[in-house]
Symmetry: D2
Subunit: 381 residues, 4 copies
């Protein structure tokens, strides 16, 4: 009856907030604010209850979850006494965290196939040890740079062969996805990393009858873009520029300050606008690391548009959010929804979850309300 | 084949921009930016083309349209040479403007029924003189204060009787609506004034088989509220406060600086949020007159919301729009759509046009995208 | 050697932050961030050190300081363990708090002179009991409405007579000021309440040889106005409108939501701009209570100005501050500076402290930098 | 009696606005809004009147000034009929424009010394032909990338020798500065280009007894930084980050979109903050080209700071200005002030004009009010 949630990046801010929050909800210490699936539209969908979720995961950090939760308390992400009150749950989840893989570079002694094998064992051991109906794997590790193309990415046979050779054919996020799918586990890419985004892995998912979803959860600027751009579109106002500056601290901010990783994020952030408006729009998107902001993000967007008779107008907004608090309930939502998809036997890309993502798999629909309507219909169906 | 558009407030900023813009579109001098019904979703709906619209109206001002258009040119609402290029059309429309009524206070010599009679004649004369298939009446006059309740507002029989007596039972906007409906003309309340918003006038519309719609077009802060609030709702983020300050110059700004008239606007502005979120939200809405802004409006909204584990976050936006440029294309849209409703034999409140209004008649749906979907379906049906 | 600081409103947010902060500084648990007089410009001025300040005061609330400090900790004003660490100091100050006066309405049994007498005793007892060189009285109680004019306000003789009669000639803030000055204590009006702002009290201060200062500390919108308006002035840019919306929660927000009290605040807020620019400027100032903001304030200001050849431009800013954290260090600064003024034998209004106030006594200089330069010179002199 | 103003970049937006504006002021068609020296503080300084300024210059563009003025009229920089009304003055100035130099790469046929010689002749011919008391050269051409160091930059002798050789020792802006100073003309660097910013040119200025000033006029974000940062400094608030995004269209925007040229601008923009605050501050400055903004600039700055007890606060502002309208009156101011400096026999860097510049020559004072005070004293002295 219990469902496993295997977090890749299990000691990060998002993961720690997920584990703390699920425990708080279970203990009745918090309301499910920010949980989409807690609303009445999903009451009949047969989703697994949050208090039946059991957590484990991979990470390359060894900071224990209770310590990370203390940091987040100091940073204002977790309210003051909560981490203490659910310490037992944090320790239990921490005990289920296994060492992740920093790189996938293999050598004569250890091929990528062998690395994948050990990841698979970690997951299946968890499933068996804890007697779980299924395990949902969620990638919430640091964002990777975009991956260089490789012929083995396009074909499962070629990929299987390449993994048996020395070298590095898959980045870590994709090796985690490979392991999850191989273990028969639904996989979610919460980040813009490559993950399951390769034809060979899509083939693997369909072969194994396992669903996957992604990518890159929308929790700030992009969420707003997909709420606002349809307004301009239906009102026939001609958006002429859309510029954005994102200031963020925290671990994620430090990662994205690296231009290579930042590039992955920008690619996924830049999908929505032309898709909704039907034409390209000038303007840049900046992602700056501002350590003093801690776990908080400030996004400023400036939009110019043309109205009747060519009159120029503008709009700007500032979004000040706590990233992990915005992301964590969505991880719980996605775990519940993917459990449903798996139970229903859905295989391959789950396009109906586009509501959650900046760069939704197998879907060109970016309009937030339309995505929500589709999600609700799917859940009810 | 030609359709009349009778503008109450025909020499105001919105009306002048409507007439100038329609002429510019007809002459191929401008693209229909901001016209919702110019999009592909409405191509098959059988709407009357914009170049078959013929303009007239009532106003209490005697400033001729070409002069008003020059003012709007200096104010940056109408691009520099356009008013000159369509001067002929402005003069033609100006020749169709008749004196409006400043007040509806009647005396022994002239009852309200008599005043209404003369308004009706103005409209039917226009229809006949210009050989129009139908005439759509659009109220774009200065906003009135909310009207005091009166028993005759609730019943058509009582109203008819009261109009024959001395006294003032209806405010001007409602007497215009009474005249329009009595003349068998579809009526649109583009403003928050009382207009057709009385049970007795609803009865009149249904009796005569005439459609009406309203009220108070949404072109700025409220438009944004109805685009953004659904995002908070579907994401289960708990909006805790929503505060707004609207700075506007122009004639409308001067009118709304009067607390009584401003009250009408605030009432219609405050409908959307509790309807979308399902609960009241703290925060005030200010409307300030800032003459230096001219025809431009600046709206600043500040929203606080609670996320996962009670974390407090906020968002703010600033909208800088040219009010008349935002409103004018919607007047064209509404005239076309109401012509269709009339042609289809629809009578009474047209709830399907809620997409355009702050306080939509016969509808509690305020979510912008849902309103659009409903409008599109209706137009296609 | 020790200096007393007698806080009127000693259990409010500002006062509690003052006492907590002074204790934290003394214990080396915090740096004097926000303390103007901690900078090198004041090192030679002979100001009493912060760790020689001893606190007491009046309040009408009976919530003990340690409890209030816990509330402020939950609200994010005081960092998490600090209130615990300085609990002893909070208790010590709490023991020096005496019941304040809710109203100054007197009856046959008790004249205002008698009420004042008991306030004077509270202060002089504190001075003697604690062996203090001098006691500085700072009014940080809830803002009062503006007071109605009364002939006895203009003349000390008339005032003395009137205080001996039944009735209410002075509002509470002014009776506190009367008591402070009568006790020979320097008095600071940190709020926009009437306080010492009456000719009769100015006479009293000069008679007794006691300095007083005020009024209404500038910590947000007005601080920014006095930093920014000089920029427009020296650059010869013609400011045409300045509109402001202040959203604030907390006790102060609740008080100012009352239009009468809000009026006092607006009056003091509106002084600076015309004084700096040399002409009136259109635009309103709103103060809204938004409970969800807690101890935080958000101020949005929108400015339009005209440049070369009449081109219209604008600027807007949003200030998000923690009011008590902004105010508390200034209370410490003012206590130190007024101790100096007293030691120097200065009597009556101290115009050199205008840097701290929205409505500076005996000064028309509102330009922030000019005020700072004057303060620095005075301190050094 | 007449004073020449020789504009390098004489057909650009700033230059065209300068010439149009000076003509408008002379004709009484506009007030000197934005002209610092039109204020009472400068009334006694003996500055040459604006209507005695005669314009000429260098440019590599051949678009005539009247045509450029029409463009600026369409863009809303110059009010509608003005360019027509002063057409004669625009034509007169256009007749005094000579071809500029695109590059300073020399070959065997033509050394840089020879190029400089022809620039000098252009300026001295202008002076003589128009009978001018003196000619002030103002660099308002497109921003150049930073120049690579060269040994001849540090010594006038070495520079003179190098200019006689083939090759490129000076960038165009510096060759213009060399020519101006050699012709005995005061030189102003209104842009961040290298200009006179080389020890060898400083030596030349002092040798010839000619004053020079610069660099990079502050008209937006940096102006605000220098007005606001002193507020944080005097209030002892610890600024922890300052991030800025500048969106600009126009010719200047297109130039600065080139990373090399943008770099020059960023360097000059980044001087003020650490100088005023006394320590480095995290945060980036972005300059984005947004063509749709035309001649308008939007700057958004976000500041985080720490207050008492470490509480984190923030402020943000948006500045929406018309760059050329902000810059043009300062060009007039600087021409007048440099004429005074020249008349007074001042030679070399004029540090007293720092009020106008992002990166003031020979001065570390960046605080706006302090700069103004110094300017006023100097003008009066
Ligand atoms: N918070 C949001 O709103 C949001 C939205 C969309 C996407 N994301 C993405 O979620 C991810 C997590 O964000 P965060 O704020 O928790 O970041 P974080 O830096 O706090 O945590 C990342 C964690 O991943 C671990 N990690 C790094 N490389 C790993 C590897 N190869 N294998 C296993 N673990 C590894 C790190 O040790 C760390 O514990 C980021 O990629 C971020 O871009 C976050
Ligand atoms: N522009 C927008 O975005 C927008 C949006 C929604 C609603 N509205 C409403 O549209 C209306 C018109 O706005 P505007 O900017 O054109 O205002 P405006 O002040 O420029 O024009 C109003 C016109 O109405 C005329 N008028 C006043 N009383 C009248 C009467 N009793 N009979 C006939 N004419 C009368 C005036 O003389 C004037 O010509 C306002 O009520 C406004 O609130 C505008
Ligand atoms: N925080 C700032 O930035 C700032 C700036 C300028 C002025 N002020 C002013 O400082 C004052 C205090 O602000 P706060 O945030 O601490 O408010 P608060 O509401 O938290 O505290 C006010 C205190 O005054 C007490 N009080 C009320 N009436 C009294 C009376 N008659 N006698 C004695 N005590 C009385 C209350 O019981 C309460 O403890 C307000 O008037 C505010 O306007 C604050
Ligand atoms: N507008 C402001 O607020 C402001 C503030 C500070 C600095 N500036 C600087 O002023 C300069 C002018 O700005 P603008 O908006 O007028 O730009 P612009 O692009 O409109 O004009 C620049 C002019 O310089 C000319 N030019 C380019 N290279 C030249 C050369 N080698 N010799 C002679 N002429 C040359 C161009 O042909 C053009 O006419 C820019 O460097 C800008 O960075 C402007
Ligand atoms: Na409704
Ligand atoms: Na004063």
């Amino acid at each position: 009856m219990d469902i496993g949630v295997w977090l890749v990046g299990a000691r990060g801010s998002v993961a720690t907030t997920v584990v703390t929050g699920a425990a708080a909800l279970r203990a009745g210490l918090a309301a499910p604010v920010g949980c989409v699936t807690a609303g009445p539209d999903f009451a009949e969908a047969g989703l697994p209850p949050i208090d039946r979720l059991v957590f484990g995961g991979h990470d390359i950090s060894s900071t224990p979850l209770p310590k990370k939760a203390e940091e987040l308390t100091r940073g204002g992400v977790i309210p003051a006494p909560l981490a203490e009150l659910v310490r037992h749950d944090l320790e239990a989840a921490d005990a289920e965290i296994r060492p992740g893989i920093e790189s996938t570079r293999s050598d004569e002694n250890r091929t990528q196939a062998a690395i994948a094998h050990s990841l698979i064992s970690d997951i299946t051991d968890f499933r068996e040890r804890r007697g779980l109906t299924r395990v949902i794997v969620v990638h919430v590790a640091s964002t990777e740079p975009p991956v260089a193309p490789h012929p083995a990415h396009d074909d499962l046979g070629a990929l299987t062969a390449a993994l048996g050779e020395p070298g590095e054919v898959l980045p870590p996020s994709s090796l985690y996805a490979y392991a999850a799918l191989s273990a028969g586990c639904p996989y979610i890419d919460f980040t813009p990393s490559t993950g399951a985004w390769l034809p060979a892995l899509d083939e693997l998912a369909r072969d194994r009858g396992v669903p996957y979803a992604g990518r890159d959860a929308k929790t700030g600027e992009t969420l707003l873009k997909t709420a606002l751009a349809p307004m301009f579109a239906t009102r026939a106002l001609a958006v002429r520029s859309w510029s954005g500056t994102n200031l963020l601290g925290g671990g994620d901010g430090a990662t994205l300050a690296d231009p290579a990783a930042g590039q992955s994020k920008k690619i996924s952030k830049d999908r929505a606008l032309p898709a909704i408006l039907g034409h390209p729009v000038e303007g840049q998107t900046h992602i700056d690391h501002v350590a003093h902001l801690g776990d908080w993000k400030t996004a400023w967007d400036h939009i110019t548009f043309e109205g009747f008779l060519g009159v120029r107008m503008s709009m700007q907004f500032t979004w000040q959010g706590c990233d992990s608090a915005l992301a964590a309930p969505l991880v719980l939502d996605l775990a519940r929804l993917m459990a449903l998809a798996h139970e229903r036997g859905q295989a391959g890309a789950v396009s109906e979850l586009g509501f959650f993502f900046k760069d939704p798999v197998a879907s060109d629909e970016h309009r937030l309300q339309a995505q929500y309507d589709r999600l609700r219909e799917w859940a009810r169906s």
